[in-house]
């Protein structure tokens, strides 16, 4: 599903964010990316979404070398990838259902499809009763659930999550992780960057540890360490 071959990423200020990274992630895996700040976790995720291009090496997603696809095909790639942010990135002037519907409308889904898929996904994340609320009327955990609903409403093959529990308290974090686990069980590959030792240790999924831009550990059913 995901493959990095000798990937190196150097930013314009000569900062080497990732070096000699080679890794393969299968369909339906749940992978934690761990490591200190600046270790390259976010760069790793941004490369998978073609927000960044590798300086060297190749990035394969769903059988395609995404570093060589033309710019006009990038939106099509992103339709297969859901993205969850630490700061939710919800649109404040849209309601919960509008925020979720936006993801479908933006890729030109027919109205009927939007009408059926949005309530279904809101039901899945447990927010059907808040469909008409605006983001500022929700708690942090609820906002992250909306963000997950928006990322998953299109049933993507891959779900990328960049510190999705970074702004949440421990109880809310458990709820979000249960939700991500549930999504993963539907066959969606989940790649999640995190600093949260607790959830990594409890869930015991594959752990890829980065340090100074290098993969220093790749462990099935690993812990944070």
């Amino acid at each position: 599903m995901i493959k990095l071959e000798n990937v190196k990423k150097v930013y314009k200020n000569d900062h080497v964010a990732l070096r000699n990274a080679s890794v393969s992630i299968d369909k339906g895996e749940f992978v934690f990316l761990v490591g200190p700040s600046g270790s390259g976790k976010s760069t790793f995720i941004r490369l998978l979404n073609r927000e960044e291009l590798p300086t060297e090496g190749k990035v394969w997603v769903a059988g395609k070398d995404i570093s060589s696809i033309p710019n006009w095909r990038v939106p099509l790639l992103r339709r297969n990838i859901g993205y969850i942010f630490q700061d939710f990135k919800l649109l404040p002037n849209k309601t919960v259902e509008e925020n979720v519907a936006f993801a479908l409308e933006a890729i030109g889904r027919p109205r009927q499809s939007v009408k059926t898929q949005v309530p279904a996904i809101l039901e899945l994340v447990g927010l059907a009763h808040k469909a008409k609320n605006r983001p500022d009327e929700l708690s942090g955990g609820e906002q992250q659930r909306v963000s997950i609903a928006r990322a998953f409403v299109n049933r993507p093959l891959i779900l990328l999550a960049d510190e999705p529990t970074g702004n949440l308290d421990p109880n809310t974090t458990i709820g979000i992780m249960k939700l991500l686990d549930r999504i993963n069980r539907t066959g969606t590959t989940v790649v999640m960057a995190t600093h949260d030792r607790g959830i990594v240790d409890v869930m015991r999924r594959r752990v890829i540890e980065l340090e100074g831009g290098q993969i220093v550990r790749d462990q099935a059913r690993g812990v944070y360490e």
């Binding site: 979404n49 073609r50 927000e51 710019n71 006009w72 990038v74 939106p75 099509l76 790639l77 992103r78 339709r79 990838i81 993205y83 990135k89 649109l91 002037n93 936006f102 993801a103 409308e105 933006a106 890729i107 030109g108 027919p110 109205r111 928006r150 990322a151 299109n154």
Partner: protein, 298 residues
């Protein structure tokens, strides 16, 4: 792209960013009103004023006081058959004396008795068909050597000065209009870019969920075009009203002044309004397009 989505997004954006929308519309309105007034008054009005003034350019062929009737008839015949002459009017003894009296009545009444009818040179007032100063001068000079002609009076220096001034005014106005349009484009661009900037998070989310650049861009362009059309519509209304006021003043309070000659035709006004509308649409669309480029780079 679904039309209902486009209409809803554009409408919501216009309402949500109503202050910026109003600012953009106002900038388009002010810029295009100034543009419209400059075009109508400065270009069409000035052109028409000079056309009228040029139409008044003429020269006078003075005959000798003792010129024979044959000599006068010969000049009259020559002027009549010349294709370069539009109209010609002969000032005989009576008409010349009447003119002499009228001029001196106001300026030096004591001179009125100094000359009698028949002692003043008769003259031909000639209006050439081509008002160009050089052509008129050449035509006027061709009558100087003719028998019976005393002198030919042609205000060549004044004509040259006025025509030169007209050329300069047109050039300055053209430069002014270009500068005005450039300033308008920049102002509109800044206003639209501010609107786009205020929605950068929305754009970022749209990109990450897989919207194509054109899908993101089209509502912004439609929004810009609507602002351009509304701004141009208001500007056209203002310019039309100002034009009506100008024309009514031209036939009223400054009827006899030079300003009353600065008029324009209905078709010229229509052309100016169409150009204003087109500029509004183009500036709105191009401004939005350029403004979104920054946020839609891959």
């Amino acid at each position: 792209m679904r039309l209902d989505y486009l209409a809803r997004e554009t409408g919501q954006n216009l309402i949500r960013n109503w202050l910026l929308s109003i600012a953009t519309v106002l900038i388009v309105t002010v810029s295009l009103t100034m543009f419209g007034i400059t075009v109508l008054l400065g270009f069409y009005g000035l052109d028409n004023a000079f056309i009228r003034w040029n139409n008044d350019v003429s020269f006078i062929v003075y005959m000798n006081a003792d010129a024979s009737q044959d000599q006068i008839d010969a000049i009259a015949k020559d002027l009549d058959k010349s294709p370069q002459v539009d109209t010609v009017e002969y000032y005989d003894d009576d008409k010349t004396y009447e003119l002499y009296q009228r001029i001196f009545q106001q300026e030096k009444p004591e001179m009125i008795g100094a000359l009698n009818k028949g002692e003043l040179p008769t003259s031909f007032r000639v209006k050439p068909s081509n008002p160009d100063a050089a052509v008129v001068k050449e035509l006027a000079n061709s009558y100087r050597p003719k028998t019976g002609v005393y002198d030919v009076d042609f205000p060549d220096e004044q004509v040259r000065q006025v025509q030169g001034a007209a050329k300069k005014i047109r050039l300055w106005l053209l430069m002014g209009v270009i500068a005005l349009l450039a300033a308008s484009v920049v102002l509109i661009f800044i206003a639209i870019q501010t609107a786009v900037f205020s929605r950068r998070r929305e754009i970022e989310v749209m990109r990450l969920v897989g919207a194509t650049n054109w899908f993101i861009r089209i509502p912004f362009i439609v929004e810009g075009v609507i602002q351009g059309i509304v701004g141009a519509g208001i500007a056209i209304t203002f310019t039309g009203l100002l034009g009506l006021g100008w024309k009514s003043a031209g036939s009223g309070s400054f009827k006899d002044s030079l300003l009353s000659r600065f008029v324009w035709t209905g078709s010229q006004q229509t052309t100016a309004f169409i150009v204003m509308l087109a500029i509004g649409v183009i500036v709105g669309a191009v401004g939005s397009f350029i403004s979104t480029l920054w946020y839609l780079r891959d």
